[in-house]
Symmetry: C2
Subunit: 417 residues, 2 copies
C-alpha cells in the first residue's frame, strides 16, 4: 500500500467520522448491538478463518503464549459480542455539558463533550481488540481506523467486515470502521504521520512500537504505558491485610500492567512480615529477589540488583526491599515507578494522606490491591488502555477519554470593545 | 550547552517541581505576588537591560513589529506584574476533586486534579511571556522550564532572576523557574527530547517551530494553533448585528489568531449585505478579495483565489464568499477551517443549532464576534495559549489545562477476586 493509497483510505474514514459524530446515541448503540448479533451468528466462520492465521503462525514458529492471544474460540467470540453490548449500554458521552457560565457582557459560555473524529489504533495480535476498540470508538462518536498485526490479518479482516456490515445496517457509513490491511513497518510509520486525517492514535504494543512512535509520529497519541507497580507495607499496617493485598497484587495475574513488581516493607515490621510473605509468595510459585536487609531476614533469597527494582517482570518474580520509613518508600517509588499504580497498606491517616499526595502516579491506592486499576474494575465499563502519561488521559481510559471538548458561545450581537 | 548539561538542568527543575507540587496554594500565590512586587521595584533596571537587547536587534536589522514585541516599557512591566497578581487571585486548581464514586466492593474512587510537573515553554521574543507563562505554571503547581528567543536573552535572564528570587522568598526552590540560556537550534531540539524530565511542552511560535516539534519532539506537547476563522452571515441574520460582528471580528486587531479571515454570506442576503459590509471594511483599511458571486455584486473587488480562503492573513485583508445555504457554509468551513473559532450570525434556532453541532472547531459562536475566544474574555483569568488540537486541551488554555489528574482509590483491604 502506497502512502497516497493510505491517505485516500484515511480521507474516506475521515468523511465517515463526520457522519458518525452527528449520529444519535441510539444509532451508534444499534451499530454495536448489530455487530454483537453478527459476531454471534458468524462465530463459527470466524473461528475457521482464525484457524488459518493460527496455522501460519504455528509454522512460522510463533511462541505458544502468542498463539494463545491470537486464538479465537466460540467463547471468545461470544465475549467480544458481550463486550459490545456492554459498551452499548454505557451512557452516551457525546453532548455532555461539562460546565458553563455567563459572562458579564451576557455571553453564554459552555463546554460540550464532542467526538475526537478519527481514532487510530495500532495493536498486537489479539483479534478481540478489533471489536473492543472499534466498539469504544463508535460509542464515543468516532470512526475507528485500525491497524492490527500481520499474524491476525485474516481474522481482523473478517471481524472488520462484520463491523462494517453492522454499521451500514444501523445507518452509518461502512468506513466508520476501517482496517489497514498492509501490515508493513513502512505503512505503520506512514499511519503515524497522517496528521490532519487522524485525530488521535492509541498504540497498544511493546517498546519497539513506542520507540517508533516517539521517533516518527506527527499525529497526537496517548500511550498505554508499562506498570512497574509497588506495594508499600507501612509500620502500622494490618499485616494480615497486607499479606492479602501483596499476594493478590503479585499473583492474581502475572502478565498484566497493574500487577505488583516490587514490595517495600517498613523496617519496623520487616521481621514480622517478610517470612510470612515469603512463604505465601513462594507457595504461589513466585521467585523473590531481595535487597541486603531482606536477605538478612530471609537468608537464601536471591539478590535484587538495581535493575530488578527497575523491571516490570510480568512474570512470577518479585523484587523486595526494606525501607526505613515512609520517606524511604516514597523516594524508592519516585525513583523506580513507571507512574502506573502504587499502593500503601497502613492504618495511619497521616501516612495514607502523604502517600496519596506525594507519590506521582496515574493511580494511588490505600489498603487495596493494585489489580483494581482497570477500567472495568473502577466502573468505567470498558477500557481502551491505561495511560501513564499526564496529558489528555491518565489512568484507565474509557469512552470519555475518546472524546474532546468544544466551546460553545452564544450571544445576541456582542462585539469586543 | 551540551545535552548532558541541559539534562542536568532539567533534573534540577524536576526536583524543584516536586516541591512546588506539594506547596500549598497560598505559598504559590505568595511567590507570584512577590514576583509582581519585584517587577514593579525593578522596572527601570529591566527596561535598561531590555534596551541592550533592542539595540542588538536593531543593528541586526530586526523588523519594527518584532522590535515592538521585544520592547519593555514601564507600562509593560507593570502589566506583567498586574498579570501575576491576577493569576494569584484565581482559584487554586490543585486538589480539585473532579468526580468520585463508590464501587460495589466498597472501594472509594476519586479523581483529583494534580500538577503536570515540569512544563516546558518555547516562545518567541516577547519578554512578558517569561513572567506570564511562569506565573501560570506556578499557579498550577508546576515548575516552569523556559526557552525564549535569542534576541530577548538578556531581558529574559533578568526577569527569570527576579522570578527565582520571588520563588525563594516564598519558600519555593529557585529552580521552580529556570531559563535555558542556550538559544541554539540544537538545544531547542534537545529540549524537545527531554522525555521523562519534561511532562508537557507548550510551543509558542511560528510554522518552523511547529514543524521542528512534529519531527523531533518525544515529550508530550500542546499546540497553540493558527486561526483561519470564519464569520457566516445566514439568510435570517439581523444584518445590522452581522455588520457589527463582521467589522469587529475582522478589524478589532489584525494580527491575532481569533480575527476573522473569511466572511461567508448567504446568497439570499448577499445583495443587501455585501455593499454595506464592503464599505465598512474598506473604510477600516481592509482589502476585500471575493469569489465570483461576490464580484458580481461588488465589481472591482480583487479575486479571492483558493489560497486566499486557506490563508490566515493576520493582516487587513479578508476573503469573502457567497454560499447557497447553511450546508454550503458548513462545507466551506469544514474544508478551510483551522479548527479555531467559527461564528454564525442568524436569527433561526435550527441554523444556529446545526452550525454549533456540525462545525468542527475548538470554539463555535452564535451571534458574537470571534474575538471573544480568548482566555481572559471567556473568564479563565489568563491563558497560556489557544489549542487547536483535540487532545488534552482545546480552545483557550488556562491554569486548569496545566494540570493532570490522579486516581485515588481507598479501601479497607479489598483484593481482586
Amino acid at each position: 500500500m502506497t502512502t497516497p493509497e493510505l491517505e485516500e483510505l484515511a480521507r474516506r474514514v475521515r468523511a465517515a467520522s463526520r457522519v458518525v459524530a452527528r449520529a444519535s446515541g441510539p444509532v451508534r448503540d444499534d451499530a454495536l448491538r448489530m455487530a454483537a448479533d453478527l459476531l454471534e451468528e458468524e462465530w463459527s466462520a470466524l473461528v475457521d478463518v482464525n484457524r488459518g492465521d493460527l496455522a501460519r503462525a504455528e509454522s512460522a514458529g510463533m511462541a505458544a503464549s502468542a498463539q494463545d492471544r491470537l486464538r479465537l474460540t466460540e467463547a471468545r467470540v461470544r465475549a467480544m459480542a458481550a463486550g459490545l453490548r456492554g459498551v452499548a449500554r454505557l451512557a452516551d458521552p457525546v453532548g455532555e455539558v461539562l460546565d458553563g457560565w455567563v459572562r458579564p457582557n451576557g455571553l453564554r459560555v459552555s463546554r460540550v463533550r464532542v467526538p475526537l473524529g478519527v481514532v487510530g489504533v495500532i495493536y498486537e495480535n489479539r483479534p478481540n481488540v478489533t471489536s473492543d476498540a472499534a466498539g469504544l470508538c463508535l460509542k464515543a462518536g468516532n470512526a475507528a481506523f485500525l491497524r492490527g498485526s500481520a499474524s491476525a490479518l485474516d481474522s481482523n479482516r473478517a471481524i472488520v467486515a462484520l463491523l462494517r456490515r453492522a454499521a451500514s445496517k444501523a445507518g452509518l457509513p461502512e468506513d466508520a470502521v476501517a482496517l489497514v490491511e498492509d501490515t508493513s513497518h513502512e505503512t505503520a510509520v506512514a499511519f503515524m504521520r497522517l496528521r490532519g486525517l487522524v485525530d488521535c492514535l492509541i498504540p497498544r504494543g511493546g517498546p519497539s512500537l513506542i520507540a517508533s512512535l516517539l521517533e516518527h509520529a506527527t499525529v497526537p497519541y496517548v500511550l498505554d504505558g508499562d506498570g512497574n507497580c509497588h506495594v508499600y507495607v507501612d509500620a502500622t499496617a494490618d499485616l494480615s491485610m497486607a499479606l492479602d493485598i501483596v499476594v493478590n497484587a503479585k499473583t492474581h495475574r502475572f502478565g498484566v500492567c497493574n500487577a505488583a513488581e516490587t514490595i517495600l516493607v517498613h523496617a519496623a515490621v520487616a521481621e514480622a512480615f517478610l517470612p510470612t510473605m515469603a512463604s505465601a509468595l513462594t507457595g504461589a510459585g513466585v521467585e523473590l529477589r531481595g535487597d541486603e536487609r531482606v536477605r538478612a531476614i530471609l537468608p537464601g533469597t536471591a539478590v535484587a540488583e538495581e535493575t530488578d527494582f527497575a523491571t516490570e517482570f510480568l512474570a512470577p518474580i518479585v523484587a523486595v526491599g526494606v525501607v526505613d520509613d515512609l520517606d524511604g518508600a516514597i523516594e524508592h517509588i519516585t525513583r523506580y515507578s513507571s507512574g502506573h499504580s502504587e499502593a500503601i497498606v497502613t492504618t495511619e491517616v497521616r501516612a495514607a494522606d502523604r502517600f496519596v499526595a506525594e507519590v506521582d502516579a496515574a493511580a494511588v491506592l490505600v489498603n487495596a490491591s493494585t489489580r483494581f486499576i482497570d477500567g472495568e474494575e473502577l466502573g468505567l465499563g470498558a477500557e481502551v488502555g491505561i495511560s501513564t502519561q499526564k496529558l489528555h488521559a491518565r489512568g484507565p481510559m474509557g469512552v470519555r477519554e475518546l472524546t474532546s471538548v468544544k466551546w460553545v458561545v452564544r450571544g445576541d450581537g456582542q462585539v469586543r470593545e
